[in-house]
């Protein structure tokens, strides 16, 4: 049996919403990162699905870029996170607001 494309897209939308809500409601920086990863991969899923649907490789290609950028972003983000933790003893993003106007 074949799963219809709409199911993939629905799953992608659900994952993206989950990630968005996670970014908005969680305060721990690590969870924030994971939520962002969730959003990125939801988009990846949509890309792949639509590429398959249209028989076009462009979407699959975009996924590679997203993966690379996500990996890099995690490297930079985690190192920032480590430094914040060292200097402030917390990873609660609500307490890191030095740039308040």
């Amino acid at each position: 049996m074949s799963v219809p494309a709409s199911a993939y897209l629905l799953l992608s939308a659900a994952l993206f919403t989950l990630g968005t809500v996670g970014v908005l409601v969680r305060r721990t920086a690590l969870i924030l990162f994971m939520s962002i990863e969730l959003m990125l991969n939801a988009v990846n899923l949509a890309f792949v699905t639509l590429a398959r649907m249209h028989g076009n490789l462009d979407g699959q290609l975009a996924v590679f870029f997203v993966l690379v950028v996500a990996a890099v972003e995690v490297v930079v983000g985690l190192s920032i996170l480590v430094h914040i933790f060292r200097s402030r003893d917390t990873v609660d993003v609500d307490e890191v607001d030095l740039l308040r106007g």
């Binding site: 968005t20 970014v23 908005l24 409601v25 305060r27 924030l32 993003v93 609500d94 890191v96 607001d97 030095l98 740039l99 308040r100 106007g101």
Partner: protein, 618 residues
């Protein structure tokens, strides 16, 4: 020496100015003096060699093209230098007298902390003056004109920590701007009318009386405007007010700039544009000559009541410049330049002698407190006496020969002005004798004077020799070398009959009377009671007060009004209002910058939703 050497005349002093200006502090006093004096001496040697070739007929007048300066449509001006008898004479004067005064300055300024700055500006002045006299077109001349004005300002205000000196520098600058504005308009009119600014082209277009352009209203207007520029620079009525105040500068500066060279730039301008002024026919006789004669008499009368010896000499300079303009006005161009030459000698000499007095008495120059200096300072006294008698016009000193030429030319062309000049001659002899008697004769005051050091004495002696015998350079009925030398400039038609015995007798008699009256009335350092007349003369016939009332006060009132009403209330308020608006606006916006990451994320989401909605619904 060929024409290729001419640019060096300007380049050497300019290089000296640059070296002393940039590295004056590191060179030490000795180095600064060497650079300054040798660069001017080098320029003098080059000028002398080139002038000798010119006078000997081995070289002809030439224009040295340096580079194309302005090329806009058909307005083309080249940076070029002109070497002809007139510029040669002035270049020799500027570098020769300039060199002597540089040497003198090494003694006079020996104790000054700003030694390097002084010589840098003095060298710059020499270079600028040479640009002025060597320029081959009006625009190059104007560059030199403005540069000497700048140097004059810098040197009058050399001791700028003294408020009087700073104010005098400012006054000189502002008054000169009035003349310069007219000068610029004159240059533009010349361009509009003739389509060229090159002196040679101008001479070609309006030469021989101007042809079709003779007396053309536009030409007359241009000549008048250019003459107004000359009036400002040469301190003639009505723009003379800056020169007496210019005496606030160091005395060698007064000698070089405000007596011997820069102030003669106006005379030089008229001489340089001689064909143009001749073609603008009524200007010379109806404007230049009366202005010159009136200034000569006016300044001489004011000089009779001055107590500051340098101010006596300053008014005397104004008066003698008036003589030169009178000579130009009656068509005796070479007589004017002959007098310019001898005046440079004896007036520089008088200033240097006065400077030696100041140097010996720690700046004391008030005639009421001097006296009996001839015993302590014999060399200075003799030098001053030579200068004074030369200024008075007694033979065989140089001033006699040149003044006699002017008087003679004036009698032939304008008898009324001749009478004025003769009266001026009497007053001149009177006031300079008065100054000499009050300073050098009679009982000594309570001070210890000493003779000038060698660095100051030698240039004074050299100038005394020039002032005594310089007249034989161009004595009209002797060998006439100067007149013959200047003939290409002023034309051959200006041949005067030799003055008769009556002419000479009258001139000498008047001068001798003035000298005797001056000596008799002030012998034993007495002062003459003049009553109200003294007040009128000391107030410069009320002219200074008139300017104060008509120009200075209205200008101050207007500035005050503009400051309090317009600047404080309109300009400042507008600026403050803008600043306050920005502060208020940013106070609102800054609250949006919470520093909370999740709020930013929500903002991004909201933006994305809005964009998406727009995309879908449009």
């Amino acid at each position: 020496m060929g024409a290729h050497a001419i640019p060096w005349i300007v380049a050497l002093p300019l290089a000296g100015a640059v070296v002393n200006g940039l590295w004056g502090g590191r060179l030490g006093r000795r180095g600064v003096s060497r650079v300054a004096c040798l660069s001017v001496l080098g320029a003098f040697v080059v000028s002398a060699a080139a002038a000798r070739d010119l006078a000997g007929g081995r070289a002809s007048a030439a224009v040295v093209h340096l580079f194309e300066w302005v090329a806009v449509a058909d307005f083309r001006v080249s940076a070029s230098l002109q070497w002809d008898p007139l510029s040669a004479l002035l270049a020799l004067l500027v570098t020769g007298v300039g060199f002597l005064i540089h040497v003198y300055s090494t003694g006079y300024m020996a104790g000054d902390p700003d030694y390097g700055r002084y010589f840098a500006v003095l060298n710059l002045f020499v270079a600028s003056m040479l640009v002025l006299v060597l320029g081959a077109n009006l625009l190059v001349l104007f560059v030199g004109w403005e540069l000497v004005g700048l140097c004059s300002y810098l040197l009058i205000g050399f001791w700028f920590e003294r408020p009087a000196a700073a104010a005098a520098g400012r006054k000189a600058f502002v008054v000169n701007r009035v003349g310069d504005a007219a000068f610029v308009l004159g240059i533009l009119s010349t361009w509009a009318l003739l389509g060229t600014l090159e002196f040679r082209e101008i001479a070609r277009l309006v030469g021989d009386g101007g042809g079709a352009l003779r007396g053309h209203p536009a030409l007359v207007a241009a000549a008048l405007l250019l003459f107004a520029g000359a009036v400002g620079k040469s301190a003639q009525l009505p723009l003379y007010v800056w020169l007496p105040d210019a005496m606030e500068g160091p005395t060698p500066v007064s000698a070089l700039i405000h007596a011997a060279t820069m102030v003669t730039a106006g005379v030089f301008l008229v001489g340089r544009l001689w064909p143009l002024f001749e073609a603008a026919s009524p200007v010379l006789g109806a404007v230049v000559a009366p202005v010159g004669a009136a200034t000569a008499l006016f300044a001489a009368t004011v000089a009779t009541v001055q107590y500051d010896m340098k101010r006596v000499l300053a008014y005397s300079t104004i008066s003698q410049l008036g003589y030169m303009f009178l000579a130009l006005g009656v068509g005796a161009g070479s007589a004017a330049f002959f007098h310019l030459t001898t005046h440079a000698f004896f007036k520089a000499l008088l200033f240097l002698a006065a400077g030696s007095v100041m140097h010996a008495l720690h700046g004391q120059i008030d005639l009421r407190h001097l006296g009996g200096l001839c015993r302590a300072m014999p060399v200075t006294f003799l030098a001053f006496a030579v200068g004074a008698l030369s200024l008075a016009g007694l033979p065989p000193l140089s001033g006699f020969w040149s003044k006699e030429e002017i008087l003679h030319a004036a009698r032939l062309h304008a008898v009324g002005l001749w009478a004025v000049a003769l009266v001026t001659s009497f007053v001149t002899a009177y006031y300079i004798t008065r100054a000499a008697v009050l300073a050098f004769l009679g009982e000594p005051g309570s001070f210890h004077a000493h003779e000038a050091p060698p660095a100051m004495a030698w240039p004074t002696v050299a100038l005394a020799v020039l002032a005594a015998f310089g007249g034989f350079l161009g004595a009209g009925w002797a060998a006439v070398p100067l007149v013959a030398f200047l003939q290409p400039v002023f034309g051959a038609h200006e041949k005067l009959a030799p003055p008769g015995a009556v002419d000479v007798g009258l001139a000498v008699g008047v001068a001798a009377c003035g000298t005797l009256v001056g000596w008799w009335t002030h012998r034993g350092r007495r002062e003459v009671r003049l009553g109200r007349l003294r007040d009128v003369l000391a107030a410069q016939w009320g002219l200074e007060a008139l300017y104060d009332l008509a120009v200075v006060r209205p200008a101050r009132a207007l500035s005050g009004w503009l400051y309090h009403r317009v600047d404080s209330n309109v300009v400042d308020r507008a600026a403050s209002a803008v600043a306050e608006a920005v502060v208020r606006a940013s106070g609102t916006v800054r609250t949006w910058q919470t520093g909370n990451v999740r709020q930013y994320a929500a903002g991004v989401l909201a933006g994305a939703v809005v964009l998406f909605a727009y995309w879908v619904l449009r």
